[in-house]
Symmetry: D2
Subunit: 358 residues, 4 copies
């Protein structure tokens, strides 16, 4: 349903062309100073129209906080918020009112609910992720107080792929280009590929890599709420995501166990560290204090600016050409969404871990 988390629990609402998109953050720890400019900054990173490679829609997406803050700090009560929808061209969608766009949620929503708000994809629109970015920005500020840092970047577009070792890239460079790729040369090639795809009226997918540092050992709740299972579910819940892996992931299956062991070494003050980190910072579903890293696969989105054959709600064959303003590649704008989901999961795990002892 429309909530995520057990203690830090976020509920979202809103359709693409309804009055507003928003949500409620429940379980936000009390007494955390919140910089609302930084919340808006994250929204701006997700915003359409920020560059030539994303949709030209002109959505300002200003967040309005409705409750839960008092004199700049969280009070421990729920934080309601809303972002008004504006610049919606609902008329652009008249032609899909009675037609199913292939590989979209049009058919499945209709099959499930018996009706749908067809304008702009309705609830299945990625516009819903606005609410996640806002909630994630709150979680992130709480986590930063505790020394946890989260970043993500575009590591693959089409067949253009960075090295799998995140340590080779400087997170400071992520925001230096419109692809959100920390390697300037590769970013340029990715940009060109996206432009080429866009001009062809086509779309393309890719991979976002996420990294979380500063997580203490102990986060994650076996056996069904293992930290990576919660991270995976959160990422798989983002529009267009088709896969999730952490640590060595799918690449590790071909290795021998003896190659993959993360050897322990004693650290300072009784801490224990690992020399390598094939595990991706999680062992047995619980963080071990090393960096957590993971990869999220995004399919090429289904809205093409070219004619595609399909069927109407009555089962008749037809041809559809999407109108409107769409992203040829969602990855640049999905980077802050991946970060937001990670922040929510980690803060929730942090709070849950406090309940393990009296």
């Amino acid at each position: 349903m429309n909530s995520i988390g057990k203690i830090f629990r976020v509920t979202t609402f809103g359709e693409s062309h309804g009055a507003a998109v928003g949500g409620v953050i429940d379980g936000m720890p009390a007494g955390v100073e919140i910089d609302l400019d930084r919340v808006q900054y994250e929204l701006d990173r997700r915003r359409p129209g920020q560059s030539s490679i994303v949709t030209a829609r002109n959505e300002k997406d200003r967040v309005k906080i409705l409750s839960g803050l008092f004199e700049g700090r969280t009070t421990g009560t729920p934080i309601g918020f809303a972002v008004e929808n504006a610049d919606q061209h609902s008329g652009d969608y008249d032609n899909i009112r009675s037609t199913f766009r292939p590989s979209h949620a049009d058919y499945t929503y209709t099959a499930k609910y018996g009706l749908r708000d067809h304008r702009g994809g309705g609830r299945s629109s990625a516009r819903e992720t606005i609410a996640r970015v806002v909630a994630g920005a709150f979680a992130r500020q709480a986590l930063e107080q505790m020394g946890v840092r989260i970043y993500a970047y575009t590591s693959q577009v089409g067949d253009l792929c960075l090295d799998s070792d995140y340590r080779k890239y400087d997170p400071q460079l992520i925001e230096c280009n419109d692809v959100r790729c920390p390697d300037a040369v590769m970013a340029g090639r990715m940009h060109n590929l996206i432009m080429e795809v866009k001009e062809a009226g086509d779309t393309i997918g890719g991979v976002i890599t996420g990294v979380i540092t500063g997580v203490p050992a102990g986060l994650g709740e076996p056996v069904f709420d293992k930290l990576h299972a919660r991270l995976g579910a959160a990422m798989l819940g983002i529009n267009a995501v088709k896969g999730f892996e952490y640590g060595m992931g799918f690449d590790g299956v071909g290795r021998r166990g003896s190659e993959m062991l993360d050897r322990f070494v004693a650290g300072d003050n009784g801490a224990v560290h690992t020399l390598s980190n094939h595990s991706g910072g999680i062992q047995g579903g619980i963080s071990n204090g090393e960096d957590i890293y993971f990869r999220v696969a995004f399919k090429p989105v289904a809205t093409l600016l070219q004619e595609v054959p399909t069927v109407t709600v009555d089962g008749e064959e037809t041809v559809l050409k999407a109108r409107g303003r769409h992203d040829p590649c969602v990855l640049p704008r999905a980077v802050p969404v991946v970060e937001a989901m990670a922040a929510m999961v980690i803060l929730d795990a942090w709070l849950l871990n406090k309940t393990v002892h009296l």
Copy 2:
């Protein structure tokens, strides 16, 4: 924590060397005829000692149903069950009482809980999956009544890999060999590879492919309980799993959107089908009536029958050589676990979908 599901909700308990492993199935629909031999059959598929490529532990693993059945049918009340632990050689683990096995959960459990039951891995042991297999066997019998079929198979061991198209393989052949691979030739090669790894005191990983047929359109609950997000979380919650993908998964990210569209065609009686199924049977988080298929990555497990350097709980360096009887490759025994998790997720989604209308 130790429960999964919202309506069909399973809670498990038990450590490897405690008195028993078991659980409670809540939300089992009433009036379903249950064949207990089939429950035991699934457990037997998971059982150690069933072939030369799995651990030689002699665990009989007979399930005892404690409640919730009356005259062969479910009553709608919770089903308690337990499987006694037997043939445990706790002494085999004395040497890890104060040592952390690398890439195991030993350190993280200690970091989280402040103490751990070191015998046999305690709660982090894959022995816990017994309870999942039992619960899954109940879910499966309910689903079969509704025409849903679930199967899984070993599709990769090390670098030995089947074709990614599950439709090329006959599920009837899965149980014909000890690897649970539906291609006899490849199964032989996989068997040999596992034996070779075993003799080297090493371990190896692989991939299990899961397939679900007969799911009607409409299952899955946006936005945070999308059907694939629930499936992914369930699979990532299985011991040793490092990745999950469905439909085209990671392979799809390099394609163009125009290549990936699943074109709709009108079926009989107003139904709508797709010609291709790159989506993997789920669009927008909701099943579309096509086959659901997915892949689960298992790392090579960390218990090697060779000496490995590590540290003690006091941070001193030491060398550890595991004793006991361990699997060189967990995939053959993990196949029924993957099926069980899938069955639980689909039945829960089925029941939740009933609440969408009055």
Copy 3:
């Protein structure tokens, strides 16, 4: 926390003097026609300033629906809504910024959260019930389609008490007077008592009786979500409530079992009814098809318009005199809140009951 319900799940947000009070309704069944005037009507019943015996605050309380409706019908997606706060005199509360009002939540919120929004009681204000009334109005419209009717009335104010048999009173008469008591003579006496108490700068409590008709047999989920346990928790969650009983309640404890049996009689079409209804329409936690009735005890609220001795946040003794506009008796305005909570509980139980069978 700030959500209630399992399937029909309502989350509220908002403080008395923040920007808005609102919430999200998740799990609203799809395809239900909604009359928004009736939603506003329920809010108007809860509204301050509606008569001489309630607070004179002039809150218009217009609800704005932000999502989840399309062309007058619910879409099955979450319904976000907000009611702006207006006519707030935050300055009236300056004197309690550093003082604890006795028998309020001022001290406990501070003890729990470390800080509080002192203006108007903040989150502990009964203004939060606005969100419940909105959500309840949606639930009620769904239930009415299924033949379920819910009403509540003021059955006791101070020592003025109606007969305990709800069948003696016509629900049509509840809205005929400002006390919401279906007996005109008693309503007049209650009105006078409240005016007298108000003039003394004091407050008074009472009892609200709730009745639910048309509930089919089968609603309620043993053992921990018995229908009356859910109703009780919902009622006890309303501000100022100190007790809940259903059926014969506390009065029944002095009786013999033989006096209290509800004898079965065969009805038409295989239905079974009871001749008496001491059970209050629920047996073993599950509805039996008879009327459900219950009583809710409200204490006299703690905000007195007279001087009361208390302490400051620093533990110093002081004297406090509340300013502002307060209710001498909350019952008339609490009647729609009781109805709303009942509607939410019954709709959730209705939907949960659909999952008992495949």
Copy 4:
């Protein structure tokens, strides 16, 4: 359904005449020393056959712990447990296989589930409370470490009623008589009344008072998980309970607000206390550090040892006379159940309260 609690979460299973009654305790804090004799002691207090005024059934009710303990301490992993059913005379219930006992759950279970295990009441039997008593005994031992004490006593049987002020009674005297009433004279009168009712083949109800001391300020989660709402739901979930009130409860509704104020006084070390405690230790749904006290109304149970007219499952009129061994008054054996439920609620609130701050 069959789980209670958010962090300390207990799931129960078992029918009266099935193989066993038991459950799983999830979220038990790690590292708590557990005295299993005290767990068994609580079960013995609930046990049939302990005196002349309770049922003569000879159930030994020995609990077997299946997991979650290691060397006498909790490990933070789930605690599975079971109590075998023995001395069941299922044949005593043959006559109700196709008949509905009036004011029992026979009809409602059948209406809901389509079938039922009729033996001994099946799942609706109070035998299920065994699992609650075990779980409560674990919670209680954790709470005692933190200085929280919980006790309950029979304060009313029929019209025989103790003073409502719990401070007049010494909890040490509760176990001195078979009624579990701390006033010896009243206990004698209650005993005689129960014997008289028993001889008449009838039953009688009463009230149990519960008291919780040592709870720090801050427990309870507004707005829907107020501490008293959670306590109320827990108590209303006990078999035969018809009402719950806390603090002044129903008696307070007739008072003026000015009579009911709990005046604050400064305590030592910045603590704040109240001179009176009409609030019952909870204000705004959050504990204030004073004693929590509440009352629970039990109806006279419906199983009479006399002939009662009823109907069969086919709607035909018949006469039923219960066989078997039944309690004429459930209160003495319900005292440990009330305490167990209170312990579970308070421990869960304790753990939840830890998540309010980072």
